[in-house]
Symmetry: D2
Subunit: 472 residues, 4 copies
């Protein structure tokens, strides 16, 4: 058996196992794991971890974000950044704008992505306008075409679904076995808080955090869980930020409900104080995202959830804007009120180093749990398994070689995203991606992008096992 490539001498890590062996690749797939494999091309991985490429199931790319606002990444820069950060698949969103066809939106996003991606890409849908046509025809058809998950929002002017719409959407998801991702923050409560703060003249970016306290997230989480329980459909609560929402999810899980949960780097490393900047100035806008980061007690809670299995996935919620730009964080309206500051932070490139360093290197989670949280569970939950998400025979040769001992300081200048800053400027980590391979080809190496633009494919996905009734 001729191999095209052998990765030799490394330590293979899966979501459950860790062992030393060589990895043999033919074409795009892993075909053999063994000792002393030889191939035409060989990579010396001694001293390195051989991990499944990161899958980031929550990124926003080239999404319209309001008048005059431009997202800092297109598909080329976002996926290059992902690759440099050790990822081989990203799942961005195809956002339906109200009054438009969902199918047309999807086509539009595909067009933007086509030929641009450095890593594999698969779209979630965002349903913002669940008309009978969307629910009855477009959505079922798109699900059959491999768009097997979609996100709904309980807040944002242009996206919020009413409770009845949520229920109707859940019912379609149940029937069609789609996995629904829920952005759980309560629209009315945020509006109420925002107007109150504005009346009081409290408009600095910091008040973004005050306008969306944990109560608001907890209430929406409880509401989403209750609706899902009523309809009897599994849901994924994305970007959980702190103890209050997490307790609701844990309570639901302990009652046997199929409620899954995701958290993100910002909720274990940042706090609301970061939004204050040095002097309650606009620099706090760099940290404006939703839900906002909370406090240290919440970070501890999130770690407990990561350890005990409340959370299944750890994603970036990459949603990049330039800071020093009128089309970004310094949008002129943002100076009048936090409500106009674009919501979101870049993070696709730093997700893996942050969790590795804070989690594995500091002894909070095991190496296997790291792989599970950053790759395997994403593949399983979103219907990419067993093509993606692990190192085993037949899997795509999506691999990142990881140096567990390398110390690095996160700085904007070493990153590849389109944003002009990183919220983690100066953050020190131990553990760093050395080489990223996509289906057997090196995409990123030593901090440089060496893959071809367009080498990343746009994937159709299977129905999620998590959306079915089997135990997981």
């Amino acid at each position: 058996m001729e191999l095209d490539l052998a990765i030799r001498g490394g330590t293979v890590v899966t979501a459950s196992d860790t062992f030393h062996c060589d990895v043999g690749i033919r074409g795009e797939r892993i075909v053999v794991l063994g000792e002393n494999l030889r191939a035409q091309r060989e990579i010396d991985a001694s001293g390195l971890l051989v991990l499944p490429g990161g899958i980031d199931s929550h990124v926003h790319i080239a999404q319209p974000s309001g008048p005059g606002v431009v997202m800092a990444d297109d598909f080329a820069s976002a996926t290059a950044s992902a690759a440099a950060g050790g990822n081989t698949t990203v799942l961005p969103f195809a956002l339906q704008q109200r009054g438009t066809s969902l199918r047309a939106c999807v086509e539009d996003y595909r067009r933007k992505a086509d030929g641009e991606c450095y890593v594999d890409t698969a779209f979630h849908l965002i349903v913002s306008d669940p008309t009978p046509e969307v629910l009855g025809q477009e959505l079922p058809a798109l699900l059959k075409d491999g768009y097997t998950s979609f996100k709904v929002f309980m807040t944002y002017d242009d996206l919020v679904l009413k409770d009845r719409e949520l229920l109707d959407v859940f019912e379609v998801a149940r029937r069609e076995r789609a996995l629904v991702m829920v952005h759980a923050e309560g629209y009315d409560a945020i509006r109420y808080m925002t107007e109150r703060l504005e009346r009081e003249g409290r408009t600095a970016p910091y008040y973004h955090a005050v306008s969306r306290p944990e109560i608001v997230e907890r209430e929406a989480t409880h509401r989403a869980i209750s609706h899902a329980e009523l309809v009897d459909v599994p849901i994924m609560i994305v970007h959980v930020s702190g103890r209050e929402a997490m307790e609701q999810i844990r309570w639901a899980q302990s009652r046997g409900l199929k409620v899954y949960a995701e958290t993100c780097p910002q909720y274990i490393t940042l706090t609301a104080e970061d939004l204050q900047g040095p002097d309650m100035d606009m620099s706090g806008a760099k940290y404006v995202c939703s839900p906002p980061p909370r406090d240290e007690e919440s970070q501890a809670a999130i770690w407990e959830g990561l350890r005990t299995g409340v959370f299944q996935t750890f994603s970036s919620d990459h949603c990049p804007f330039r800071y020093d730009s009128p089309a970004g964080k310094l949008h002129p309206n943002g100076k009048t009120s936090f409500r106009w500051v674009p919501n979101g932070i870049p993070g696709v490139e730093t997700r893996l180093p942050i969790l590795f360093s804070e989690g594995v290197s500091k002894g909070r989670i095991s190496l296997n749990r790291f792989v599970e949280l950053t790759a395997t569970n994403h593949a399983k939950i979103y219907g990419l398994y067993p093509r993606k998400g692990s190192i085993g025979i037949g899997f795509d040769a999506d691999i990142v070689l990881w140096d567990p001992n390398r110390r690095e300081v996160i700085r904007q200048e070493i990153l590849h995203h389109g944003a002009d800053y990183t919220p983690w400027e100066g953050f020190e980590v131990t553990g760093w991606p050395v080489t990223t391979l996509l289906r057997g080809q090196i995409v990123a190496d030593g901090g440089r992008i060496v893959g071809a633009k367009g080498a990343g494919r746009i994937l159709a996905r299977n129905v999620s096992a998590y959306a079915a009734s089997i135990g997981t």
Copy 2:
């Protein structure tokens, strides 16, 4: 690379992954996973699952069980039964009898096991007499020799430790990084209940269950957790039977305490009613074990714990006695009171089929969780990993070929243990072990034992990763 054996065409399952491939074995170890492997000897596994051999980390073999009582299995029969049931490693106990040296007890058990075993075997210790000598010298020395876990009892006349003894033992465990297994039922409460029942003339085997209600298990569980929290040492609560104790464990886990838990087949399939027999007669003695089985609500609770990760291991607590024997369940004293009925049931051979059938076939847990609960986590928790517990390069070739579709009725006549009955007589299962390989050699095949007595080794174990401070 020459292979001694190739298992071809099966579906390999690990605690996280499932994929089709061949497994190549040289000597005693797995050396290659790949497609189209050829070897001198080949096994056709098409249509079968290729699972890591079961590890049963809680079995009792040839243990003294009171005057005139004889355990139904010696090491030969117990390990043959284990092999037939798809297991490749068992962890019995070396029980210290009060007033004796722990080291001497261990040597005694080793002698009994030596040359008798069909599968690999590693001993836990049971500390019943924590003298300064035992705590200061024998225990640390034995831990260094590879007896890295031990069990303590909160009940049973000859075994119970006082709270202070528990605390002292926990302190040694903390210092020496041993994993302590706790039998959590409260001695005084059981005595109180037993005497009350006896005074009332309620002495049939059924009252064994009444004498040890869930309160008694819950209280001891809380007490063990509190002591462990005070000393700051991880513990494993074994054979958890129902919701009450489980809620204590979940509460502890959610507070970040390192409290692990095990459950057993009896707690998902039997109930206290089974102890009633057809007519409150002695036949109920067949189901006398401690803690006793509870009710259906408790079974549902245990399933929730299995799904959500409260439990890390699923063991048999195999503890076999003959039913129709004065040295077994029908011991003459047992007719005067349930308290003299030997405690324990046989189960090492039926553990895997029961969990597979009730769990995987009925859609309650995934195949990967099955492997994790029955093999991988046992190896990780008890210091046998990465030699044992998974299918990967370098692991011992401990493998069971499993037919997921085979329907079978559990009957005494097809089992290999030394007991003269099974509590699951007539129980129908879907999924059955076809062939068991120990380090590359077939031990059991098609229900027959084909391995050599003495082929099973007595293993020393590493320190448990779970007894250390790293996240798991």
Copy 3:
């Protein structure tokens, strides 16, 4: 000191105390408690309990209930029924209809009540249309006029407030120190369930209960609590029906939130099965109320809440319709779907006997807790204290003489309400009101109304102590 009336030889009971003494009344008030009091008129209360007259803080009288539907009670019949059942004060609602002035509605209700009442009456408001004018002017003005509490609805087509409206209303309540009563059932979820059931042809009255499961009540309860926490305002969750909602309330209380709760006779004595009637026929309509009665486990939960203090008040939610009438339960539309069956049951006359019999006579709650739940707390919470709600010097002489040993069977023929049935037909009770006195005058005696129509006054109320920040 001359007394107009002495009640002699009874046992006085307050929310905390029980002692034997005579009660001396001059004019409308209690002026002396002592031994051997003499007066012009004397009532022999030996063998009887002397209780503060019941206060029913949740009754609906002469409320518009949809096209073609007529409530079975006007103010005369409702208050006569209340008096016969041992009550001396009732708190009905003045319901704002959308598009109308709140003040005008209030005047309208007052007109209907004026000169008609047999017992004292004070109105809560129902805010269904929180326009800026209502919130900014009418509501504050009405609160100052003694309408110090109001109810809001989270369901019902004509009444439901959106979340933002709830928040705005809460903010007014906070500023003006009004107590907000919340009907917590989720509108959208009920609509969703109703339409689903109708599509499936499940339209019998029983499906009313199915359309409003506990999840729906729990979710709305959590939402109301969260909104109240955000605004920092006390709220009263009315008519709590079962464990799910109750657990949310208990959780809120244990976190220090000022969340109060009420339950009703239907939730400790009826179940959803009652809605099935003998044969899933229209007779189930007799039990249609919202939230619907649940099951026996829920009844047990409610009792725990009554014992441990989760609930502060026990009210009837009297909302009477005739059964055998096209303007009542047999409204023609109701035969096409449960959704058109008028919601509500009569209960003002049976509330006290049911709680006394099931609670006090059966040993579930103490006599003092009975008084607290049926009179004292109503007065305290709704600003009638210390004029109403207890037996002490200076209180209105609102008294019911109660025979704790009298056994009675509840039957329609002995009741005084305007409905043509009682949901408790045939229900046996121990304990019965013998004589009711309103401000020193006998209103009901031996089952007959002897008071004067119009003797009942319409009361203004003080600000609730529970709406302020003081501990309670």
Copy 4:
């Protein structure tokens, strides 16, 4: 009706009600409540609250406390101090010393108390040696004689009961309807911690608190609750110090168990830091009591328990030792280790002002709850009701006139106890007892004791309603 005494113009407060009236007394009892009462003697109470005299159901008087240690109060000084602090009844303990007859102990205490008391006194028993004779004969006989409650200890060398003894004692309590008070701290865990601290040289008084962390109290509380649940007997957990134990009690109560709870002034005002003294010196001994005070978060938890009804009583746990005395806190052994510092602090005189000021004046609890927690519930729970505990017809005229606005600074020089210090030196309070009447006679007035030594009676008590099955 001639009155001997009229208290005029005050505001009477009971556990449920507050109203203005005069209180008329004839002989020892309250015979009339009314307006404008005249009597031979009159007290002007205008501007004052007229409260039931405080009942302190947890005080230690003249109890042996170890070799060379002498309690600072005899019955004369303790009851004088109680009277000055607004109390009219105290419940000290008659402690059985091991190897002695319980009856003889009781007689001994009675002798010491006889003719010495300024306020009424009733003894609890302490059972430290539950021999068959004690359980079978003495205890039942004493219960019949009016010693209807007793305390058991889960710690202290001379007092600790083993679990089995606890269960046996609980069974007697159940049968005889006695109320068992439980000192819940775990003996073995404390011993373990103490020895560990001593080995490390950490022997200052502060380490008393470290040796008894909340875990130890929580574990014992859970254990006591479980045993009580097993036997089905109500229990009272005394002197609960913080959140951990309280959560166990709340959990038990919410499951319908009859578990009552008491807390004390030290747990809402002191913290473990007080034991550090200015410099980790012996002055910390002034605050050594068990359980030790915790931290501010625990204080907040205790307040929540006081508000929401987890706690039924608020007692002092008065247990006075002189500080500057070799027979007290500066016992020579105490300098070698905290374990020899006598456990206990004086507090009978300061209990009411502290709770009034911190609770009522600061708006945390209502006036009625204050009365309930300090008088009424004590009488009800310990079988003194309806003779004691409220202001109503027929009650003993045990009354304290209370100035709600008087500001006072607690200082040793104004107190009447036998100790030479108060832990609350310099603590400012708003609200102070002005005059204390025992059965119609003034005992304390304006800070001076004016009653007669021996005027206090030794009371027999009824069976506790809380020890029976009725709801409370």
